[in-house]
């Protein structure tokens, strides 16, 4: 859970000079927001102002959205706010941008949309945030209360539609309560296991008069989060770790969300326990460390999958044992006693039985374990075995000069050209897997991807959101696929308008590559609807948007072109024509045995 500065409670006492202050703030906007404690905001007069005030009180600096009829009162109130609103080209982009903002900053990302199509377009991003437990707050306009249920223009049952893909949602029906509903949604998005929340805002409610200031962001009384695990189970788990002969740590996305990477690193290094990450856990442990086995699962490294399969003790932190990680349940770590740390009790023994269920905040519980473990496990032989696997199942690939550029080479070149703290966003498919496998991640919150939902089109809007959350010295690179890029490339207009320094590398094979790879392996090579055969020239297209376009066809262009694109101060797009035959390996087929990963197609 992230720490936030205590929110400011707006006072009811107001001062005469407020209006002048507000005006001067408007005419001379300063980048640094005044410390909220000194600010004397004007009293709210409408529901919409109360909504915006709730965001301001929560410390929100950026919001991503698209205007529209039913949300207009909120946008009108936003007009006077210091919050920087980024007008997106499509609501899906708004929810993905907010999601990435949440991942990189650790604070809820805010997205706004109008009723009906605005709200339904947000759904993909909300479902993504729900699957990946990313903190997002969505504010949607709604038709006036008296029309609700009458199939009014642009009416959709937004709370109904989003119920299965949000942590919680609210239909806000009281002008005096609407600001507090937003505050509560903000608190719920980040406290405990994070996730997306939504507040549906009928136009009559936001238009209505109210002088009611929103309450501070606080979760409802019925919401309980356990921070510390049961000490008895901690003691038993610690004993298990001490007696392990083949231990591993499996670090999931919860390690990053709980800001527990540091304490997990210390624990692993102190006790010399090899570390595997899940895909959302990427960056929780430095991949250049000797103990790092990198990511496991369907396209995880061979050595990570061997270690997972053969370990006798697994300290799994902040992971929900997704099927892309476990492969077939029957063959998942079949000899391992599982120590499972998670803040959500419902994840314990949901997919994989936990021998030592430790419910609590990742950082707190791993600190408890650190306290409780006195002796390191005697695992010299096991560590040597893991190193042996690292060399047996090397990720090395060939780069024959007479074949098109290998995508792995491009990813490595991008990694080489950027700093350790560069943020990588991706779409979904082959390029995503290469970006995951061949970039060496060393820091949390630098890998931003659509894991559980697998939403193509995530990469570009995520790069926009990440750009606002990242520090100025952090490069933001979107490694995209041609198919994924084509789904949301209208976001380039946003990147250009906002002058965002992002670099998009489109690994272009003119295929829906992952589908093509599966068709080759499982459908007799019948490329049904996966073979584009033609793609727009992405560099020229980028130029039309006002971005800088580049193109790579040969190995000798890679380094210089990447350098030029990174140097360009603004959005740039590199259309990289990669080897269309390149496939992602290792690969564990759906429901397969992780230890039996294929290294070539004929092993599938």
């Amino acid at each position: 859970m992230s720490e936030r500065a205590p929110p400011v409670t707006a006072t009811e006492e107001q001062h005469d000079d407020q209006e002048t202050q507000e005006e001067s703030a408007e005419t001379a906007p300063t980048k640094d927001v005044e410390p909220a404690t000194d600010a004397q905001p004007t009293p709210v007069t409408t529901g919409a102002e109360s909504v915006v005030r709730a965001l301001e009180n929560a410390g929100v600096e950026h919001a991503f959205g698209v205007q529209g009829g039913a949300i207009m009162p909120v946008y009108d109130a936003l007009y006077d706010s210091e919050i920087h609103h980024v007008t997106m080209a499509h609501e899906q982009g708004a929810s993905h941008a907010a999601d990435a903002y949440g991942i990189v900053s650790g604070e809820p990302g805010i997205c706004l949309a109008t009723s009906g199509p605005g709200a339904t377009n947000l759904v993909t991003g909300l479902a993504d945030a729900d699957m990946d437990s990313d903190p997002v707050v969505a504010l949607t306009g709604q038709v006036p209360t008296e029309f609700v249920g009458n199939d009014a223009f642009q009416e959709t049952d937004t709370t109904g539609v989003t119920m299965p893909v949000t942590k919680t949602n609210t239909f806000s029906s009281e002008p005096d309560r609407v600001g507090t509903d937003v505050s509560e949604a903000f608190a719920l998005a980040s406290e405990g296991r994070p996730g997306p929340t939504l507040v549906d805002l009928p136009k009559d409610v936001t238009n209505a008069e109210t002088d009611r200031e929103p309450d501070e962001p606080r979760t409802p009384d019925t919401y309980e989060v356990q921070e510390r695990a049961d000490p008895e189970i901690v003691a038993a788990a610690a004993e298990r770790v001490e007696n392990a002969s083949r231990p591993i740590m499996l670090l999931g996305g919860g390690v990053i969300k709980g800001d527990a990477a540091e304490v997990c690193r210390e624990f692993a290094i102190e006790h010399e326990i090899p570390v595997v990450t899940t895909m959302p856990g990427t960056g929780a442990f430095p991949e250049d460390h000797e103990l790092a086995l990198e990511g496991a699962g369907m396209h995880g490294t061979g050595y990570a999958n061997m270690a997972i399969t053969h370990c006798d003790t697994m300290v799994a932190v902040g992971t929900r044992f997704d099927d892309r990680l476990t492969g077939g349940i029957d063959t998942f770590a079949p000899d391992a006693e599982i120590i499972h740390v998670d803040i959500d009790p419902a994840e314990i023994s949901k997919n994989i039985h936990a021998d030592y269920p430790l419910i609590g905040d990742a950082g707190t519980v791993v600190s408890q374990l650190t306290e409780a473990v006195d002796e390191s496990p005697k695992a010299t032989k096991w560590r040597a075995q893991c190193q042996q696997w690292k060399s047996d199942y090397s990720m090395a690939y060939d780069t024959p000069e007479d074949e098109p550029v290998k995508p792995q080479f491009v990813v490595e070149a991008l990694d080489e050209a950027t700093s350790d703290r560069a943020v990588v966003t991706t779409g979904v498919g082959q390029h995503q897997m290469w970006a995951w496998q061949y970039w060496t991640y060393t820091e949390p919150r630098t890998w931003v991807s659509s894991h559980g939902l697998g939403a193509m089109g995530y990469g570009l809007p995520a790069a926009i959101g990440a750009r606002f959350a990242a520090d100025d010295d952090q490069e933001v690179v979107c490694v995209d696929g041609d198919g994924s890029f084509l789904m949301t490339l209208q976001g380039l207009s946003v990147a250009v308008r906002e002058k965002l320094d992002i670099t998009v590398a489109v690994l272009n094979n003119e295929y829906i590559g992952m589908v093509r790879q599966w068709q080759d392996a499982f459908f007799d090579g019948r490329h049904s609807a996966s073979d584009y055969g033609w793609m727009p020239e992405f560099d020229t297209l980028a130029e039309a948007f006002g971005a800088e376009g580049f193109r790579i066809d040969d190995y000798d262009e890679v380094a210089d072109t990447i350098e030029a694109a990174l140097v360009y101060d603004g959005p740039s797009v590199i259309d990289v024509h990669i080897d269309p035959q390149a496939n992602v390996y290792p690969m564990v087929p759906s429901g397969g045995d992780n230890g039996q990963f294929a290294l070539t197609e004929d092993q599938l």
Partner: protein
């Protein structure tokens, strides 16, 4: 044209493979700890905020997670702001555990508890039968303590309350006369004596039930 793609390394059949296995519930198969998880019927009670949408949220959860729910009832409590949902579910133990934990995660849900096998469970049924043989119908009604709610020359409608088993037995017996229509409420239930059915509990105790739920045997009450 397809060139050879892939990575080097020992092929799958050349690799060591562990002997162990897990079952479908993700539990290691080890003769000493192996427990067979047959579905069992049990009653889960949830105290929830009395507000619109809670029932939709709960029932949406059950359908999308494929939980097997036999009946679901909801009604107000002595507190105007709280309602009680009573569920009869039939699932293996890990499934029952998931139902409880997922239900507890819903924000408007205040407390969730699986009732003891001796909990009081009642259901009400209205049974409309053909009344061509009034004496015999009355005798059956008497046998099941059924109250007459309505009667006409052609039909008689009875109200039967009791545990599910009793209601099913009554319906079966009434069926000899020809049943025209039935409406049943589903089971509602309370814990016995001073035991709370589902009351707010500190987070620790809810959470620590994680894997330590003492599984109870199915009651023969229903």
């Amino acid at each position: 044209m397809t060139r050879e793609q892939g990575l080097d390394g020992p092929a799958p059949e050349e690799r060591p493979s562990p002997a162990g296995r897990r079952n479908k519930q993700g539990i290691r198969i080890d003769p000493e700890v192996e427990a067979k998880h047959d579905p069992r019927r049990t009653v889960i009670s949830a105290l929830v905020e009395h507000e619109p949408g809670v029932l939709a949220e709960a029932s949406g959860l059950f359908s999308r997670r494929q939980f097997n729910i036999e009946s679901l009832t909801v009604g107000p409590t002595d507190d105007d702001e709280r309602a009680r949902i009573t569920l009869v579910v039939e699932e293996p133990d890990p499934g029952i555990d998931q139902i409880k934990k997922q239900l507890r995660k819903l924000i408007p849900v205040i407390a969730v508890r699986e009732l003891e096998p001796d909990a009081m469970r009642r259901e009400l049924a209205l049974v409309k039968v053909n009344a061509e043989r009034p004496d015999q119908v009355a005798a059956v009604a008497d046998m099941y303590d059924a109250k007459t709610v309505d009667s006409s020359p052609e039909t008689a409608t009875f109200e039967i309350t009791g545990a599910r088993q009793k209601i099913e037995a009554a319906i079966e017996t009434f069926s000899q006369f020809g049943i025209r229509e039935i409406a049943r409420t589903g089971t509602t239930a309370l814990a016995r004596g001073t035991d709370d059915t589902a009351a707010p509990a500190p987070a620790e105790s809810t959470a620590n039930e994680a894997n330590n739920t003492p599984y109870t045997q199915p009651a023969d009450d229903d």
